[in-house]
Protein backbone atom coordinates (compact mmCIF):
# COMPACT_ATOMS: atom_id res chain seq x y z
CA UNK A 1 0.00 0.00 0.00
CA UNK A 2 2.84 2.36 0.82
CA UNK A 3 6.04 1.97 -1.06
CA UNK A 4 9.25 3.92 -0.85
CA UNK A 5 11.97 3.26 -3.39
CA UNK A 6 15.49 4.65 -3.41
CA UNK A 7 14.67 7.63 -1.20
CA UNK A 8 17.53 10.12 -0.81
CA UNK A 9 17.53 13.40 1.05
CA UNK A 10 20.34 15.87 1.25
CA UNK A 11 20.49 19.09 3.27
CA UNK A 12 23.28 21.03 1.57
CA UNK A 13 26.27 18.70 1.81
CA UNK A 14 24.75 16.58 4.56
CA UNK A 15 23.21 13.38 3.26
CA UNK A 16 20.50 12.38 5.71
CA UNK A 17 18.76 9.59 3.80
CA UNK A 18 20.95 7.31 1.73
CA UNK A 19 18.58 5.15 -0.22
CA UNK A 20 15.58 3.97 1.76
CA UNK A 21 13.41 1.16 0.45
CA UNK A 22 10.31 0.30 2.37
CA UNK A 23 6.93 -1.35 1.87
CA UNK A 24 4.06 -1.09 4.30
CA UNK A 25 0.96 -3.28 4.06
CA UNK A 26 -2.49 -1.82 4.52
CA UNK A 27 -3.56 -1.89 8.15
CA UNK A 28 -0.05 -2.49 9.45
CA UNK A 29 1.61 -0.52 12.21
CA UNK A 30 5.27 0.12 11.58
CA UNK A 31 7.41 1.55 14.35
CA UNK A 32 10.64 3.24 13.35
CA UNK A 33 13.40 3.36 15.96
CA UNK A 34 16.99 4.49 15.83
CA UNK A 35 19.50 6.92 17.32
CA UNK A 36 18.97 10.65 16.83
CA UNK A 37 20.29 11.81 13.50
CA UNK A 38 19.53 8.47 11.91
CA UNK A 39 17.05 10.09 9.49
CA UNK A 40 13.85 8.55 10.83
CA UNK A 41 12.03 11.87 11.25
CA UNK A 42 13.28 13.05 7.85
CA UNK A 43 11.92 9.90 6.24
CA UNK A 44 8.53 10.51 7.83
CA UNK A 45 8.53 14.16 6.74
CA UNK A 46 9.37 13.08 3.19
CA UNK A 47 6.23 10.93 3.18
CA UNK A 48 4.18 14.08 3.86
CA UNK A 49 6.41 16.18 1.55
CA UNK A 50 7.22 18.55 4.38
CA UNK A 51 10.72 17.80 3.13
CA UNK A 52 11.20 17.43 -0.60
CA UNK A 53 13.22 14.30 -1.30
CA UNK A 54 16.35 14.77 -3.37
CA UNK A 55 15.65 11.56 -5.25
CA UNK A 56 13.32 8.61 -5.04
CA UNK A 57 9.81 7.35 -5.69
CA UNK A 58 7.01 7.35 -3.11
CA UNK A 59 3.60 5.78 -3.62
CA UNK A 60 0.54 5.57 -1.44
CA UNK A 61 -2.32 3.53 -2.85
CA UNK A 62 -2.65 4.60 -6.48
CA UNK A 63 -0.77 7.88 -6.22
CA UNK A 64 2.92 8.04 -7.02
CA UNK A 65 5.43 10.88 -6.79
CA UNK A 66 8.74 10.52 -8.60
CA UNK A 67 11.30 13.00 -7.34
CA UNK A 68 13.86 12.44 -10.07
CA UNK A 69 12.04 15.21 -11.94
CA UNK A 70 10.12 18.23 -10.70
CA UNK A 71 6.80 17.39 -9.09
CA UNK A 72 3.84 19.75 -9.68
CA UNK A 73 2.46 21.50 -6.60
CA UNK A 74 -1.01 20.17 -7.33
CA UNK A 75 0.19 16.57 -7.10
CA UNK A 76 1.91 17.32 -3.81
CA UNK A 77 -1.28 18.77 -2.31
CA UNK A 78 -3.29 15.73 -3.45
CA UNK A 79 -0.64 13.37 -2.11
CA UNK A 80 -0.56 15.12 1.26
CA UNK A 81 -4.23 14.47 1.73
CA UNK A 82 -3.52 10.74 1.86
CA UNK A 83 -1.47 11.19 5.02
CA UNK A 84 -2.23 12.59 8.44
CA UNK A 85 0.68 13.98 10.41
CA UNK A 86 1.06 14.17 14.17
CA UNK A 87 3.92 16.38 15.31
CA UNK A 88 6.25 16.13 18.27
CA UNK A 89 5.33 19.66 19.35
CA UNK A 90 1.60 19.24 18.51
CA UNK A 91 1.54 22.44 16.38
CA UNK A 92 -2.09 23.13 17.16
CA UNK A 93 -3.43 26.46 15.89
CA UNK A 94 -3.36 28.58 19.06
CA UNK A 95 -6.05 31.02 17.92
CA UNK A 96 -8.59 28.27 17.35
CA UNK A 97 -10.44 26.07 19.84
CA UNK A 98 -10.00 22.30 19.89
CA UNK A 99 -13.14 21.93 17.77
CA UNK A 100 -12.04 24.61 15.29
CA UNK A 101 -8.62 22.98 15.01
CA UNK A 102 -10.24 19.72 13.97
CA UNK A 103 -12.80 21.39 11.66
CA UNK A 104 -10.28 23.54 9.83
CA UNK A 105 -9.12 20.93 7.31
CA UNK A 106 -12.53 19.53 6.35
CA UNK A 107 -14.13 22.98 6.02
CA UNK A 108 -11.30 24.86 4.31
CA UNK A 109 -9.59 22.17 2.28
CA UNK A 110 -12.44 19.78 1.54
CA UNK A 111 -15.17 22.45 1.49
CA UNK A 112 -17.32 20.35 3.77
CA UNK A 113 -20.51 21.78 5.12
CA UNK A 114 -19.82 23.46 8.47
CA UNK A 115 -22.54 21.66 10.37
CA UNK A 116 -21.53 18.17 9.35
CA UNK A 117 -17.85 19.04 9.84
CA UNK A 118 -18.69 20.20 13.36
CA UNK A 119 -20.49 16.96 14.13
CA UNK A 120 -17.65 14.90 12.77
CA UNK A 121 -15.08 16.94 14.69
CA UNK A 122 -17.06 16.47 17.87
CA UNK A 123 -17.22 12.70 17.32
CA UNK A 124 -13.48 12.59 16.72
CA UNK A 125 -12.76 14.60 19.85
CA UNK A 126 -15.00 12.27 21.85
CA UNK A 127 -13.10 9.37 20.39
CA UNK A 128 -9.79 10.73 21.70
CA UNK A 129 -11.43 11.33 25.07
CA UNK A 130 -11.88 15.09 24.83
CA UNK A 131 -15.61 15.39 24.37
CA UNK A 132 -15.78 17.81 27.30
CA UNK A 133 -12.96 20.05 26.04
CA UNK A 134 -14.15 20.95 22.55
CA UNK A 135 -14.37 24.69 23.22
CA UNK A 136 -11.00 24.97 24.95
CA UNK A 137 -8.11 26.80 23.37
CA UNK A 138 -4.83 24.86 23.09
CA UNK A 139 -3.23 26.93 25.83
CA UNK A 140 -5.92 25.72 28.24
CA UNK A 141 -5.09 22.07 27.55
CA UNK A 142 -2.31 19.86 28.89
CA UNK A 143 0.34 18.50 26.53
CA UNK A 144 -1.34 15.11 26.37
CA UNK A 145 -4.70 16.69 25.60
CA UNK A 146 -3.15 18.92 22.94
CA UNK A 147 -1.54 15.94 21.29
CA UNK A 148 -4.85 14.08 21.25
CA UNK A 149 -6.45 17.10 19.54
CA UNK A 150 -3.55 16.88 17.08
CA UNK A 151 -4.45 13.26 16.36
CA UNK A 152 -8.13 14.16 15.91
CA UNK A 153 -7.16 17.01 13.58
CA UNK A 154 -5.17 14.63 11.38
CA UNK A 155 -7.94 12.00 11.41
CA UNK A 156 -10.52 14.56 10.32
CA UNK A 157 -9.05 14.53 6.81
CA UNK A 158 -9.72 10.78 6.49
CA UNK A 159 -6.11 9.91 5.75
CA UNK A 160 -5.07 6.52 4.41
CA UNK A 161 -1.97 6.56 6.59
CA UNK A 162 -1.23 8.21 9.91
CA UNK A 163 2.31 9.44 10.44
CA UNK A 164 3.48 10.03 14.01
CA UNK A 165 6.69 11.99 14.56
CA UNK A 166 7.79 11.24 18.14
CA UNK A 167 4.29 12.05 19.39
CA UNK A 168 5.10 11.57 23.07
CA UNK A 169 8.63 12.96 23.26
CA UNK A 170 7.56 16.42 24.42
CA UNK A 171 5.16 15.08 27.06
CA UNK A 172 5.54 14.79 30.81
CA UNK A 173 5.88 11.10 31.69
CA UNK A 174 2.45 10.83 33.32
CA UNK A 175 0.76 12.09 30.11
CA UNK A 176 2.41 9.64 27.73
CA UNK A 177 -0.04 6.85 28.48
CA UNK A 178 -3.18 8.68 27.38
CA UNK A 179 -1.68 9.47 23.97
CA UNK A 180 -0.36 5.94 23.47
CA UNK A 181 -3.78 4.55 24.35
CA UNK A 182 -5.42 6.59 21.59
CA UNK A 183 -2.74 5.37 19.18
CA UNK A 184 -3.28 1.74 20.19
CA UNK A 185 -7.03 2.10 19.69
CA UNK A 186 -6.36 3.44 16.21
CA UNK A 187 -4.05 0.54 15.45
CA UNK A 188 -6.69 -1.93 16.62
CA UNK A 189 -9.22 -0.32 14.29
CA UNK A 190 -6.95 -1.20 11.40
CA UNK A 191 -5.43 2.21 10.63
CA UNK A 192 -2.17 2.04 8.69
CA UNK A 193 0.42 3.81 10.82
CA UNK A 194 4.08 4.73 10.67
CA UNK A 195 5.32 5.76 14.08
CA UNK A 196 8.70 7.25 14.93
CA UNK A 197 9.10 6.83 18.66
CA UNK A 198 11.32 5.97 21.58
CA UNK A 199 8.49 4.17 23.36
CA UNK A 200 9.70 0.58 23.16
CA UNK A 201 6.70 -0.71 25.04
CA UNK A 202 4.41 0.70 22.40
CA UNK A 203 6.58 -0.94 19.75
CA UNK A 204 6.32 -4.30 21.49
CA UNK A 205 2.59 -4.09 22.08
CA UNK A 206 1.22 -2.40 18.98
CA UNK A 207 3.69 -2.78 16.12
CA UNK A 208 3.39 -5.34 13.38
CA UNK A 209 6.88 -4.53 12.35
CA UNK A 210 9.83 -2.61 13.79
CA UNK A 211 12.36 -0.86 11.63
CA UNK A 212 15.77 0.10 12.94
CA UNK A 213 17.40 3.00 11.12
CA UNK A 214 20.92 4.30 11.48
CA UNK A 215 22.91 6.83 9.46
CA UNK A 216 20.30 7.23 6.77
CA UNK A 217 19.65 3.59 5.97
CA UNK A 218 17.31 0.86 7.17
CA UNK A 219 19.59 -1.47 9.09
CA UNK A 220 17.11 -4.10 10.14
CA UNK A 221 13.41 -4.79 9.99
CA UNK A 222 11.53 -7.55 11.71
CA UNK A 223 8.62 -8.46 13.95
CA UNK A 224 8.90 -6.72 17.33
CA UNK A 225 9.42 -9.92 19.34
CA UNK A 226 12.27 -10.88 16.98
CA UNK A 227 14.01 -7.55 16.89
CA UNK A 228 13.85 -6.99 20.63
CA UNK A 229 14.85 -10.48 21.73
CA UNK A 230 17.05 -11.54 18.88
CA UNK A 231 18.47 -8.61 16.86
CA UNK A 232 20.49 -9.79 13.89
CA UNK A 233 22.62 -6.73 13.30
CA UNK A 234 25.38 -5.56 15.60
CA UNK A 235 24.23 -1.91 15.35
CA UNK A 236 20.69 -2.83 16.36
CA UNK A 237 21.97 -4.78 19.35
CA UNK A 238 24.14 -1.87 20.48
CA UNK A 239 21.27 0.61 20.21
CA UNK A 240 18.83 -1.62 22.10
CA UNK A 241 21.39 -2.24 24.84
CA UNK A 242 21.87 1.48 25.23
CA UNK A 243 18.20 2.28 25.73
CA UNK A 244 17.17 -0.70 27.84
Amino acid sequence: MISIQGLYKQFGKLEVLKGIDLEVEKGNVVVVIGPSGSGKTTMLRCLNILETPTKGVISIESQTLDFSGTVPKKNIAAFRRLTGMVFQSYNLFPHKTALENVMEGPVIVKNENKESARKKAQTLLEKVGLGDKIDYYPVQLSGGQQQRVGIARALAMDPKVMLFDEPTSALDPELVGEVLKVMKDLANEGMTMIVVTHEMRFAREAADEVIFMDQGVVVERNKPEEIFTNPKEERTRKFLNMIQ
Partner: protein, 233 residues
Amino acid sequence: MKMYLSSIFADPERTARLIDIAQSSFLPLLKGAIFYTIPLTIITFIVGMVLAIVTALARISHVRIFQIIARIYVSAIRGTPLLVQLFIIFYGLPTLGIIIDSYLAAVIGFSLSVGAYTSEIIRAAILSTPKGQWEAGYSIGMSYSQVLRRIILPQAARVSLPPLSNSFISLVKDTSLASLVLVSEMFRKAQEIAASNYEFLLVYSEAALIYWVICFILSVIQQMLEKKLDRYV
Protein backbone atom coordinates in the same frame (compact mmCIF):
# COMPACT_ATOMS: atom_id res chain seq x y z
CA MET B 1 3.82 84.43 28.09
CA LYS B 2 2.94 86.65 31.01
CA MET B 3 2.08 89.49 28.65
CA TYR B 4 -0.12 87.27 26.56
CA LEU B 5 -2.02 85.99 29.58
CA SER B 6 -2.46 89.40 31.13
CA SER B 7 -3.64 90.80 27.79
CA ILE B 8 -6.38 88.22 27.79
CA PHE B 9 -7.63 88.62 31.30
CA ALA B 10 -7.03 92.35 31.81
CA ASP B 11 -9.08 93.30 28.80
CA PRO B 12 -12.66 91.98 28.85
CA GLU B 13 -13.20 92.93 25.24
CA ARG B 14 -10.22 90.85 24.12
CA THR B 15 -11.40 87.98 26.30
CA ALA B 16 -14.75 88.06 24.60
CA ARG B 17 -13.14 88.16 21.16
CA LEU B 18 -10.98 85.14 21.92
CA ILE B 19 -13.90 83.12 23.23
CA ASP B 20 -15.84 84.08 20.15
CA ILE B 21 -13.02 82.98 17.82
CA ALA B 22 -12.52 79.75 19.74
CA GLN B 23 -16.21 78.96 19.40
CA SER B 24 -16.61 79.96 15.79
CA SER B 25 -13.48 78.14 14.64
CA PHE B 26 -14.31 74.92 16.43
CA LEU B 27 -16.93 73.74 13.97
CA PRO B 28 -14.85 74.34 10.80
CA LEU B 29 -11.92 72.56 12.45
CA LEU B 30 -14.08 69.64 13.46
CA LYS B 31 -15.48 69.48 9.93
CA GLY B 32 -11.93 69.38 8.57
CA ALA B 33 -11.20 66.52 10.91
CA ILE B 34 -14.36 64.56 10.18
CA PHE B 35 -14.49 65.07 6.43
CA TYR B 36 -10.79 65.07 5.59
CA THR B 37 -8.34 64.10 8.34
CA ILE B 38 -10.13 60.98 9.56
CA PRO B 39 -11.21 59.58 6.15
CA LEU B 40 -7.76 60.34 4.73
CA THR B 41 -6.19 58.44 7.63
CA ILE B 42 -8.49 55.43 7.30
CA ILE B 43 -8.30 55.09 3.50
CA THR B 44 -4.57 55.56 3.53
CA PHE B 45 -4.06 53.02 6.27
CA ILE B 46 -6.14 50.36 4.52
CA VAL B 47 -4.35 50.86 1.19
CA GLY B 48 -1.04 51.04 3.04
CA MET B 49 -1.70 47.77 4.88
CA VAL B 50 -2.44 45.95 1.64
CA LEU B 51 0.81 47.32 0.21
CA ALA B 52 2.60 46.34 3.42
CA ILE B 53 1.39 42.73 3.35
CA VAL B 54 2.29 42.34 -0.32
CA THR B 55 5.71 43.89 0.31
CA ALA B 56 6.34 41.72 3.37
CA LEU B 57 5.43 38.58 1.41
CA ALA B 58 7.69 39.68 -1.43
CA ARG B 59 10.55 40.17 1.03
CA ILE B 60 10.19 36.67 2.49
CA SER B 61 9.47 34.95 -0.83
CA HIS B 62 12.12 32.89 -2.53
CA VAL B 63 11.72 34.74 -5.81
CA ARG B 64 14.71 37.01 -6.08
CA ILE B 65 13.13 39.67 -8.29
CA PHE B 66 10.26 40.14 -5.80
CA GLN B 67 12.75 40.55 -3.00
CA ILE B 68 14.71 43.16 -4.92
CA ILE B 69 11.66 45.22 -5.92
CA ALA B 70 10.38 45.18 -2.33
CA ARG B 71 13.77 46.20 -0.96
CA ILE B 72 14.12 49.13 -3.37
CA TYR B 73 10.59 50.33 -2.57
CA VAL B 74 11.13 50.23 1.19
CA SER B 75 14.57 51.81 0.90
CA ALA B 76 13.38 54.66 -1.36
CA ILE B 77 10.38 55.54 0.80
CA ARG B 78 12.23 55.32 4.08
CA GLY B 79 15.19 57.21 2.66
CA THR B 80 13.29 60.32 1.54
CA PRO B 81 11.14 62.78 3.50
CA LEU B 82 7.40 62.29 3.30
CA LEU B 83 6.92 65.95 2.46
CA VAL B 84 9.28 65.68 -0.48
CA GLN B 85 7.38 62.62 -1.73
CA LEU B 86 4.09 64.51 -1.52
CA PHE B 87 5.58 67.46 -3.42
CA ILE B 88 6.92 65.18 -6.15
CA ILE B 89 3.51 63.57 -6.60
CA PHE B 90 1.46 66.78 -6.49
CA TYR B 91 3.76 69.47 -7.87
CA GLY B 92 6.30 67.35 -9.74
CA LEU B 93 4.32 64.82 -11.74
CA PRO B 94 2.30 67.44 -13.69
CA THR B 95 5.58 68.21 -15.49
CA LEU B 96 5.23 64.75 -17.04
CA GLY B 97 1.61 65.44 -17.85
CA ILE B 98 0.38 63.42 -14.88
CA ILE B 99 -2.02 65.66 -13.02
CA ILE B 100 -3.37 64.29 -9.79
CA ASP B 101 -6.04 65.87 -7.64
CA SER B 102 -4.69 67.03 -4.29
CA TYR B 103 -6.70 64.56 -2.20
CA LEU B 104 -5.67 61.62 -4.37
CA ALA B 105 -2.07 62.80 -4.31
CA ALA B 106 -2.19 62.75 -0.51
CA VAL B 107 -3.73 59.27 -0.47
CA ILE B 108 -1.02 57.96 -2.81
CA GLY B 109 1.80 59.63 -0.90
CA PHE B 110 0.67 58.52 2.56
CA SER B 111 -0.21 54.99 1.41
CA LEU B 112 3.22 54.46 -0.09
CA SER B 113 4.75 55.68 3.15
CA VAL B 114 2.58 53.53 5.41
CA GLY B 115 3.15 50.52 3.15
CA ALA B 116 6.92 50.79 3.36
CA TYR B 117 7.17 51.38 7.10
CA THR B 118 4.61 48.82 8.22
CA SER B 119 5.84 46.14 5.81
CA GLU B 120 8.75 45.66 8.19
CA ILE B 121 6.32 45.19 11.10
CA ILE B 122 4.30 42.63 9.13
CA ARG B 123 7.42 40.83 7.96
CA ALA B 124 8.74 40.50 11.50
CA ALA B 125 5.34 39.31 12.75
CA ILE B 126 5.05 36.66 10.03
CA LEU B 127 8.57 35.43 10.72
CA SER B 128 7.84 35.28 14.46
CA THR B 129 5.13 32.67 13.85
CA PRO B 130 6.66 29.23 14.47
CA LYS B 131 7.55 27.18 11.40
CA GLY B 132 5.45 24.34 12.82
CA GLN B 133 2.31 26.38 12.14
CA TRP B 134 3.05 26.38 8.41
CA GLU B 135 3.78 22.66 8.53
CA ALA B 136 0.61 21.88 10.45
CA GLY B 137 -1.40 23.80 7.86
CA TYR B 138 0.31 22.07 4.93
CA SER B 139 -0.09 18.68 6.61
CA ILE B 140 -3.88 18.96 6.57
CA GLY B 141 -3.72 19.82 2.88
CA MET B 142 -3.94 23.62 2.98
CA SER B 143 -2.35 25.72 0.26
CA TYR B 144 0.16 28.50 0.85
CA SER B 145 -2.50 31.21 0.69
CA GLN B 146 -4.88 29.27 2.94
CA VAL B 147 -2.20 28.79 5.59
CA LEU B 148 -1.23 32.42 5.28
CA ARG B 149 -4.76 33.80 5.57
CA ARG B 150 -6.20 31.44 8.15
CA ILE B 151 -3.25 30.45 10.30
CA ILE B 152 -0.32 32.83 10.01
CA LEU B 153 -1.83 36.31 9.57
CA PRO B 154 -4.28 36.02 12.51
CA GLN B 155 -1.38 35.13 14.75
CA ALA B 156 0.82 37.81 13.22
CA ALA B 157 -1.96 40.35 13.83
CA ARG B 158 -1.72 39.89 17.56
CA VAL B 159 2.03 40.42 17.60
CA SER B 160 1.92 43.41 15.29
CA LEU B 161 -1.02 45.23 16.87
CA PRO B 162 1.01 47.53 19.17
CA PRO B 163 3.51 48.66 16.50
CA LEU B 164 0.72 48.98 13.91
CA SER B 165 -1.30 51.15 16.29
CA ASN B 166 1.77 53.30 16.64
CA SER B 167 1.93 53.75 12.86
CA PHE B 168 -1.77 54.50 12.71
CA ILE B 169 -1.53 57.20 15.35
CA SER B 170 1.50 58.71 13.64
CA LEU B 171 -0.47 58.75 10.42
CA VAL B 172 -3.31 60.77 11.97
CA LYS B 173 -0.82 63.50 12.71
CA ASP B 174 1.15 63.14 9.49
CA THR B 175 -1.99 63.94 7.50
CA SER B 176 -1.44 67.55 8.55
CA LEU B 177 1.28 67.58 5.89
CA ALA B 178 -1.50 67.27 3.32
CA SER B 179 -2.24 70.93 4.01
CA LEU B 180 0.88 71.69 1.96
CA VAL B 181 -0.57 69.99 -1.11
CA LEU B 182 -3.78 71.96 -0.68
CA VAL B 183 -6.01 69.32 0.92
CA SER B 184 -8.45 71.19 3.15
CA GLU B 185 -7.95 68.90 6.14
CA MET B 186 -8.08 70.17 9.69
CA PHE B 187 -4.69 71.85 9.84
CA ARG B 188 -5.22 73.72 6.58
CA LYS B 189 -8.52 74.96 7.98
CA ALA B 190 -6.65 76.11 11.06
CA GLN B 191 -4.13 77.98 8.92
CA GLU B 192 -6.91 79.71 7.01
CA ILE B 193 -8.75 80.73 10.15
CA ALA B 194 -5.61 81.94 11.88
CA ALA B 195 -4.56 83.93 8.82
CA SER B 196 -7.79 85.86 8.94
CA ASN B 197 -7.79 86.75 12.64
CA TYR B 198 -4.08 86.50 13.60
CA GLU B 199 -4.85 84.41 16.71
CA PHE B 200 -2.26 81.80 15.84
CA LEU B 201 -1.69 80.45 19.33
CA LEU B 202 -5.37 80.00 20.04
CA VAL B 203 -6.38 78.42 16.73
CA TYR B 204 -3.38 76.11 16.42
CA SER B 205 -3.80 75.01 20.04
CA GLU B 206 -7.39 74.21 19.32
CA ALA B 207 -6.33 72.07 16.34
CA ALA B 208 -3.71 70.37 18.50
CA LEU B 209 -6.33 69.55 21.07
CA ILE B 210 -8.56 67.89 18.47
CA TYR B 211 -5.61 65.78 17.21
CA TRP B 212 -4.92 64.78 20.78
CA VAL B 213 -8.51 63.71 21.41
CA ILE B 214 -8.57 61.63 18.21
CA CYS B 215 -5.30 59.91 19.14
CA PHE B 216 -6.50 59.31 22.67
CA ILE B 217 -9.63 57.58 21.42
CA LEU B 218 -7.46 55.47 19.12
CA SER B 219 -5.25 54.30 21.98
CA VAL B 220 -8.34 53.26 23.92
CA ILE B 221 -9.49 51.24 20.90
CA GLN B 222 -6.03 49.69 20.67
CA GLN B 223 -6.24 48.52 24.27
CA MET B 224 -9.64 46.98 23.69
CA LEU B 225 -8.39 45.15 20.59
CA GLU B 226 -5.34 43.86 22.41
CA LYS B 227 -7.50 42.42 25.14
CA LYS B 228 -9.71 40.74 22.58
CA LEU B 229 -6.80 39.21 20.67
CA ASP B 230 -5.09 38.09 23.87
CA ARG B 231 -7.87 35.74 24.86
CA TYR B 232 -6.18 32.61 23.57
CA VAL B 233 -2.67 33.26 24.86
